[in-house]
């Protein structure tokens, strides 16, 4: 096995994080790691200012008009839970898609199981895309929310969010965009797209640490609090603060995560998201072409567009994905994801159940050499079939 490990699981999380993020987190947290907004001393004020600047940076990055409507959360799943549970109630209907991650499917199922809501999941086509017209057709008079996976972590396809947003605007239903895979990878401009709410995570293409992320809301969207506690303001009242962002934040913020998120954002902005994405798409096409030429290997992801994600899934005939992943790891030093990728309906619709597929997902550190190493390894595995 070669000494250098090749990390191709960037859709799960980017790794390793830039040293600038890690060292900057330690330095800033050592200097400002007090409880922001909860003390009369200057350092608490400076920490609050840092957090406010981080909210502004996130709002600017996602083309959102109001930094006060940037709510920090633990990750995209946490943010999606905040939005879904805060937007729907008993008797409501939700429209989503069969592309979704369990971060959407499970909250919806939970609410349905409690007897609160009903939902419909619209299908994706053979190119891995959802049609805005299908979402239009699924909206009922009592539909209170549409949830759309912006970029599929299984297929790599980016969905027509602007088209879906136009449908939602016409039907008067808010659109919640799950940007876990797209934030920091391709532009996610809330105002241009016209989405009402957007959930993101900091630890993938934004290059921040795990435990960071958030929910960004349009100015007119009302989301109920679903967890309650200290906010540092209005402490005399037993009612949870209703002003944003505190309405959806309870307890001391993950200051270290906010610092890392802001540092990651800075790097993404400085190094240029578009150039990096172009390079990663060139690499994924090289990988796709190489894998497609191998006997006994089937690539399931559709041919990517330029604005899709740099990932693909495949299977090796006669081998379960988990074994392929173990072999890539132990024998070739290549780390990939295997299984259902937390998207059970996508795998079911592709016919990949129960074992799923092998996913290669590229990130900011990958090179042509990494792709060629993966191709050589897969060629040897395929030859053994």
């Amino acid at each position: 096995m070669e000494d250098r490990l090749v990390y191709l699981d960037n859709s799960a999380t980017s790794f390793p994080k830039p040293r600038e993020v890690l060292e900057g987190m330690v330095e800033t947290y050592a200097r400002l790691g007090v409880s922001p907004g909860r003390g009369a001393y200057d350092l608490a004020g400076e920490a609050s200012e840092y957090v406010a600047e981080a909210r502004a940076a996130v709002a600017g990055f996602f083309d959102a008009p109001d930094p006060e409507r940037v709510v920090f959360a633990a990750n995209a799943t946490d943010a999606l839970n905040l939005a879904i549970q805060g937007l729907v109630g008993p008797g409501d209907h939700v429209v989503s898609t069969r592309l979704e991650h369990n971060s959407v499917l499970r909250p919806l199922f939970h609410l349905k199981e409690r007897g609160w809501i009903e939902y419909d999941l619209v299908p994706f086509d053979s190119h891995g895309r959802v049609a805005a017209g299908d979402i239009d057709g699924a909206i009922r008079p009592n539909t209170r929310l549409v949830v759309l996976c912006h970029g599929s972590q299984v297929l790599g396809t980016v969905q027509p969010a602007a088209e879906v947003a136009r449908v939602c605007a016409r039907r008067g239903v808010p659109l919640l965009l799950d940007a876990a895979q797209t934030a920091g990878q391709v532009p996610v401009d809330m105002e241009r797209l016209g989405v009402s709410a957007m959930a993101f995570t900091g630890h993938k293409a934004l290059l921040g640490p795990s435990g960071s992320g958030g929910l960004v809301l349009a100015p007119d969207l009302e989301v109920r609090s679903t967890r309650f506690g200290g906010t540092g303001i209005d402490s005399h009242s037993l009612r949870h603060t209703q002003a944003f962002p505190h309405r959806l934040e309870a307890g001391t913020l993950n200051m270290l995560g906010v610092i890392g998120l802001r540092l990651g954002l800075d790097i993404v902005l400085r190094t240029g998201m578009e150039g990096r994405h172009r390079l990663e798409m060139t690499l994924i096409r090289r990988l796709r072409e190489g894998l497609s030429a191998l006997p006994h290997v089937t690539v399931h992801s559709p041919e990517p567009n330029d604005d899709d994600l740099p990932l693909l899934i495949c299977n090796v005939e006669g081998m379960i994905p988990e074994d392929v992943g173990a072999i890539l790891d132990a024998d070739y030093g290549i780390m990939v994801r295997t299984g259902l990728h937390c998207a059970p309906f996508v795998c079911a619709d592709l016919g990949d159940c129960p074992n799923g597929s092998v996913r290669f997902s590229l990130g900011y550190r990958n090179t042509e050499e990494d792709v060629d190493r993966a191709l050589e390894a897969m060629a040897e595995i395929a030859r053994s079939v």
Partner: protein, 108 residues
């Protein structure tokens, strides 16, 4: 997918999970491994296959967990690709299952 169930293997009533893994590693015996191998269409277990099975079990009981990928390579002295080919059902459903170790469930 079938749920976990009891069935009689090598004269013992044993609980298996939905993927055919033993629920309790302690329920395993060489006779159980041989019967599971026969059910998988194998005509007995070779010396090398037994070596792999014994390594997996020894590691599990010494460390309280299954070995990581690279520990298997070190322990059995062969690549995982060779191990995959050694058992008709591969690493997970072949070697690990016949060794009677708990199902190595990952986030699927």
């Amino acid at each position: 997918m079938p749920r976990e169930r009891y069935r009689t293997v090598a004269g013992r009533e044993i609980l298996f999970d939905s993927e055919g893994f033993l629920w309790q590693a302690e329920d395993w015996s060489e006779d159980v491994a041989e019967q599971l191998a026969a059910e998988a269409g194998m005509a007995g277990l070779s010396f090398t296959q037994w070596k792999v099975i014994r390594f997996l079990r020894d590691f599990y009981f010494e460390n309280g967990r299954s070995p990581l990928n690279r520990k298997i390579v070190e322990g059995v002295g062969m690549s995982l690709l060779e191990l995959e080919r050694l058992f008709p059902d591969g690493i997970k459903y072949g070697a690990r299952r016949l060794a009677g170790l708990p199902n190595p469930k990952k986030c699927m």
